[in-house]
């Protein structure tokens, strides 16, 4: 079939080739652009992104107390640590940790520990926010799903979880308010 169509002579073939490549290339670009619109369509929408930061008022939290706030649909643990808890966390030798990280690298102000409360093993929410909760062998948090123990810096100490509880990006707006995200 192509033979009959191409039989227009040397000059015609080059012109036709050019037109084919140009039209084909533009068509491909157009299809790709349309495809991108469909793919981008599944990204988070503006109303979702508008909720991507969470402001937390710290004023009402007593030493030793924790609150859970929601940031990007995930629980965030905000803990006002006691002097003893801070000392525990700071005095732990790094070489005894599965995922070594100094406590000072995990907090901006030693009193305030901010953590994403999602176990790094398989995504359960660890216990330890309420006074009545089991806090695990290291006085921090304990994940009931598969028995991971976290310390008072939110670092993994025992159990299957591979990493420490992550610290979300946050900053102090003033002495009593933080902005997470």
């Amino acid at each position: 079939m192509a033979a009959t169509a191409d039989g227009a002579g040397g000059d015609g073939v080059t012109r036709r080739d050019f037109l084919e490549y140009a039209a084909g290339g533009m068509g491909a670009v157009g299809a790709a652009a349309a495809g991108w619109a469909l793919i981008d369509n599944m990204n988070p929408a503006a109303d979702v992104l508008a909720l991507s930061t969470t402001e937390v008022d710290l004023e009402a939290i007593e030493p030793g107390q924790s609150i859970t706030v929601v940031w990007q649909k995930k629980p965030v643990f905000v803990r006002r640590r006691t002097e003893a808890e801070i000392r525990d966390a700071e005095d732990t030798p790094l070489d005894s940790l599965p995922d070594p990280m100094a406590d000072t690298d995990r907090v901006q102000k030693a009193e305030w520990l901010i953590l994403v409360g999602v176990c790094t093993h398989l995504g359960c929410i660890p216990l330890g926010q309420k006074d009545t909760d089991e806090k695990g062998e290291y006085g921090g948090w304990f994940c009931p799903c598969h028995g991971s123990h976290y310390d008072t810096s939110g670092r993994i100490r025992k159990g299957p979880a591979p990493e420490n509880l992550p610290v979300p990006p946050y900053r102090f707006l003033d002495d009593t308010r933080i902005l997470i995200g």
Partner: protein, 256 residues
């Protein structure tokens, strides 16, 4: 012959397309005068200063009775407010949130992610406070009226004394452009009712046009994206179609 065929196809398509236009025009009252809007036309865009003035009119005048539940405070950055200014606007509003740990609802300052706070908690409260008439939500009014922003501006400036012999209800006013002419909204605008930050004289006409401009934005905040992308897409398609036509001629040329 070919041209005639294509012409006929387009005419048929457009002939069909004209029908709904005819439908919506039927039975309307006096046509609102057409105004020049910067957002009309394929290159049209919003006038940021007019949007901000219009928002000021909405907030200081209309918002006493009319909600805009599809608008968020974050949309204010799109009319040219800085993020800090938009946050301040949001913080002026009291948003009902909760329940708190005691199970009580509480009020807090608004955030960018909050919807515009409506003046009434629900439609029945709005009716009760307005003599039985429901002040419509204004989010989409520029789209759900056939004449759009022209209609809004016309109604806002269309108050007059009723013609002789026309009985008006106690809470009704005569309006030239409102369907049925009896409108339950008293004339909302008076000269110098608001004080524009940019010093524009706040005549009734100016405020009506500004708030209509803002309401068009509220009805379609992505209008400018639509125009910008549309120009690119149509130019792209014209070039591509031209190439395809040349290629079609080339491919078919050896048949004749």
């Amino acid at each position: 012959m070919r041209n005639r065929l294509i012409g006929a196809a387009l005419a048929a398509a457009l002939g069909l397309a004209v029908l709904p236009g005819a439908a919506s025009a039927a039975g309307a009252g006096p046509q609102p005068p057409e105004r020049e809007w910067s957002f009309n036309g394929i290159f049209g865009s919003f006038d940021r200063a007019a949007l901000q003035r219009g928002y000021q009119v909405y907030r200081e005048v209309c918002a006493a009775c009319h909600g805009m539940r599809l608008m968020f405070y974050r949309n204010l950055t799109q009319i040219g407010l800085s993020e800090a200014a938009a946050k301040a606007e949001a913080a002026n509003a009291f948003v009902v949130d909760g329940p708190d740990s005691e199970g009580e609802m509480f009020e807090r300052p608004g955030k960018l992610s909050d919807r515009f706070v409506s003046p009434f908690p629900n439609d029945n409260a709005a009716k009760a406070a307005n003599g039985g008439a429901l002040p419509p939500d204004l989010s989409l009014i520029a789209k759900n009226q056939a004449a759009g922003p022209d209609y809004i501006a016309a109604v806002l400036t269309g108050y007059a004394d009723p013609p002789e012999g026309m009985e008006m209800g106690e809470t009704q006013s005569y309006n030239m452009y409102f369907s049925g002419h009896r409108i339950s909204m008293p004339p909302p605008l008076f000269d110098d009712l608001v004080e524009y930050a940019d010093g524009t004289p706040a005549t009734v006409e100016q405020m009506a046009v500004d708030v209509s401009h803002f309401l068009m934005f509220a009805a379609e905040p992505q209008l400018e994206d639509r125009h910008r992308l549309g120009v690119k897409v149509v130019i792209f398609l014209l070039v591509l179609t031209g190439l395809l036509y040349a290629l079609k001629r080339k491919v078919w040329s050896d048949l004749h």
